[in-house]
Every structure is written in C-alpha cells, then in structure tokens.
C-alpha cells in the first residue's frame, strides 16, 4: 500500500453497476457496509439465540447494549421515545460496529465518508420532522418559538432556533465523519513516520520508537473515539427525537 494517509479512504469498484448514468457500483465501502450489517446482526442473533434466563458472556454484551441504548433513549425522550427504539438501536449498532471494523488494519472505515454519516443524520432529522408534523401538526413549529421570551426578541430567537435546527444534520454528520477521518489519517501519518525514519539508518531506527509509541497510543485513543462517537451519535439522536415528541420545550 502506498505511504499516503489519504489512500485508505479511496473507494474502489468491485462490481461496476451503472443505472441511467448514475454510479451504483458495489465498492469496497459497500462490501464493508455488508460486513458491518452481517457482524452486527449475526452477533446479536447468535448472542440472543439461547434466550438464557442467566445470560452467557455474549448475551450479556447484547443485553448491555440494549439496556444502554434503552436507558439513553428513555432518559432523553421519555417512555414514548421507546417507539423509536429499533431505529436508535440500529443506528448505534451500525455506527459502533462500522467504527470498530474500521480499526482493523487495511479495513475500510465506512463512517469516514461524509455522505454516509450525512445520510444517517438526515434519517434522524427526517424522522424528527416527519414524526413531529405527523404527531403535532403545525404545533411542531412551536419548537422554534421558546416560551418566556420578550416579544421584541421573538423574531431574533426564532431565527437562531431555526438556524440551530438546520445545522443539526450537518453537525451530527460532520462530527462523526471528521473524527473517524482525522483519527485514521493521524494514525496512518505516524505509522508512516516509522517506515520512513527506519529507512534513514541506525539513528532513524532508534528514533522511530517515538512515532511507534505515538501510533500505539493513538490506536488506543481511536478505539475510545470509535465507541464515543457511536455513543454521541446515539445521545444526540435521542435528544432530537425528544423534540419531535415534546416540541413545547
């Protein structure tokens, strides 16, 4: 592989598919999306197949993931929020497994592509807007007019609320994408230093210990980030869904 930190994000077509001039090819990204789905559903299906009253290790992990997401959703959006549980749980599992698979060397990180994270964020915001209007009708727009604001300030505050609402899908998607992309780039850069320094003789080999340590530390950090970003994505999803359920602040 080339010593280029950006190369790892390169898409490569595996099965070219072209419909009406649009590129629907099955790429390495698609392959890892399939892998993510297979790993996530396969693990959870295998872990819960025993339906043990006393859980085994795998079932324990599955149950903890369930309780974790359910607790987050319930505390952010209340008991009514549980109707969105399958979606939120799917998002958490998909992002988490995608991030963790991306940590395997030479594996593709699907969440390092903005279009993927943006599509997931739009799914969340689309659900919020769709359900908000379906459930509350035009009252959903009350979300943008907070109570207890002086009449003079209402237009200003409403403008700010609208802008902040519109920036949500962008911040939600960019946060995940930028974290994964930047982290993997940094890892690759430091790993690349080891190789290029080692090529510079004995002193270089001795000095390359430093980027090696850095790479090891960054790998640990990246595992943390992989989990943390899945968590943050889930928490924000729950908070946005709360707006759809209770738009009156």
């Amino acid at each position: 592989m080339a010593n280029d930190p950006i190369h790892q994000f390169q898409l490569s077509t595996i099965v070219p598919i072209d419909v009406g001039g649009l590129n629907f090819s099955f790429t390495n990204s698609s392959l890892f999306m399939v892998a993510t789905t297979v790993v996530a559903t396969g693990f959870l299906a295998a872990a819960t197949s025993g339906r043990g009253l006393v859980p085994g290790r795998m079932q324990m992990v599955a149950e903890q993931a369930y309780e974790f997401v359910a607790g987050t959703l319930r505390s952010a959006a209340g008991t009514e929020g549980m109707r969105f549980f399958p979606m939120v749980f799917s998002l958490f599992m998909f992002v988490l497994v995608a991030n963790l698979i991306g940590m395997v060397p030479y594996f593709f990180t699907i969440t390092s592509h903005i279009i993927v994270t943006f599509a997931l964020a739009m799914l969340v915001i689309g659900t919020v807007v769709g359900y908000g209007f379906y459930k509350h009708g035009l009252h959903f727009l009350g979300l943008f007019v907070p109570h207890g604001v002086p009449t003079l300030l209402v237009p200003l505050v409403t403008a700010i609320e609208v802008i902040s609402f519109l920036s949500r899908p962008i911040s939600l998607s960019v946060r995940l994408f930028a974290n994964m992309m930047a982290g993997h780039t940094a890892l690759k850069v430091f790993a690349g230093f080891i190789v290029s320094m080692s090529a510079a003789g004995a002193v270089g080999v001795a000095g390359s210990v430093l980027p090696l340590l850095m790479t090891v530390a960054l790998t640990g950090l990246e595992f943390l980030v992989a989990f943390l970003q899945a968590y943050v994505f889930t928490v924000l999803t729950c908070m946005y869904l709360n707006d759809a359920l209770h738009p009156g602040h």
Partner: protein, 180 residues
C-alpha cells in the same frame, strides 16, 4: 478510478488536496444505495428479530424475579401466620389449663365446704339433742330428788314425832326448802 473524480469537490473540502476520496460525488449514488440496502436490512432485522428477542429475554427475567420475590413474600407471610397461630394455640391451651385448674379447685373447695357444713350441722344437732337430754335427765333427777326428800322427811317425821304428818304439809315444806 480516483482520477476521474476530482471535479466536484465541495467548498469546505478545499483545505484538502483535490480528489479527496470522501468528497468524490460520483460515488455518492453508490454509497447511498448500498447504505440504504445494508442499513435497511439491519434495521429490519433489529425491529423484527433482535429487539423483540432482547425485550422478551429481559422481561421474562424481570417477571421471573418479581414472581420469585412475590412467592418468597407469600411463604414468609405464611410462616408468620403459622407462628402466630401456634403462639395463639399455646396461649389458649395455657388459659384453658388455668381455667380447668381454677374450676377444679373451686369445685373441690365447695365440696369440702359443703361436707364441713353438713358435718358441723350434724354435730350441732347431736349436741343440741344431748343437751336437751341432759336437761331432761337433770329435771327428772331434780324431780326425783323432791320425791326422795319428801319420803325421807315423812320417814323422819314419823320416826321422831310419831304419829303421822300430813303428806301434803311435808311436800310443801320440802318444796319450800328446795326453793331456798
């Protein structure tokens, strides 16, 4: 294939070099299609299989635990009731025994008292009869004393004075003497 794709780099990607892979818009339809397919399948699996199964597992466990706790509470209550019943029976038996003992004691006392009364009454009766008889005998004896005295006086009078004294005079004299 990347060389064909650095035409539509969005503005905020300008800091990176041209053709930055995450912004290659030619691949966007492919990314979106396969994301929709894979995530859709994942979602469907979660909603239809995984989440109901996990809910079932966790609720079954919760029900089982609360059922077991309820059963334990029921058994505990039962035990307490049994202990209470036992204590009550014990107290009842004790009270009953006490009552029987008291009753028996009272009955025996009454019987003894009655017998004593009867015996005393009998004795009193006999005493009274004896006293009456004594009085009778005494009166009789005293009466005879009068007769004897009269006889003796008659004999003495006849012997000393000769002749005969009137019987009635002598009786009256004896009676007068005895009156003193």
């Amino acid at each position: 294939m990347a060389q064909t794709a650095h035409t539509e780099v969005p503005a905020h990607g300008a800091a990176h070099k041209a053709g930055f892979p995450p912004f290659e818009s030619t691949y966007f339809p492919s990314q979106l299609l396969w994301l929709a397919l894979t995530f859709g399948f994942l979602w469907w699996m979660m909603a239809k299989v995984i989440v109901p199964r996990l809910t079932d597992i966790i609720e079954t466990r919760r029900d089982r635990i609360s059922k077991d706790l309820g059963e334990a509470q029921r058994l505990k209550d039962e035990t307490e009731a049994a202990i209470k019943g036992y204590d009550k029976a014990l107290a009842d038996a004790r009270a009953k025994a006490q009552a029987i003992a008291n009753e028996t004691r009272a009955a025996l006392n009454a019987e003894v008292e009655a017998k004593r009364h009867a015996a005393e009454a009998g004795l009193n009766e006999k005493l009274a009869a004896a006293e009456a008889r004594i009085g009778e005998i005494k009166a009789q004896a005293l009466g005879e004393v009068g007769g004897i005295a009269t006889d003796t006086a008659t004999a003495l009078v006849n012997h000393l004075l000769g002749g005969t004294a009137g019987q009635d005079e002598i009786s009256a004299a004896v009676a007068a003497a005895m009156q003193k």
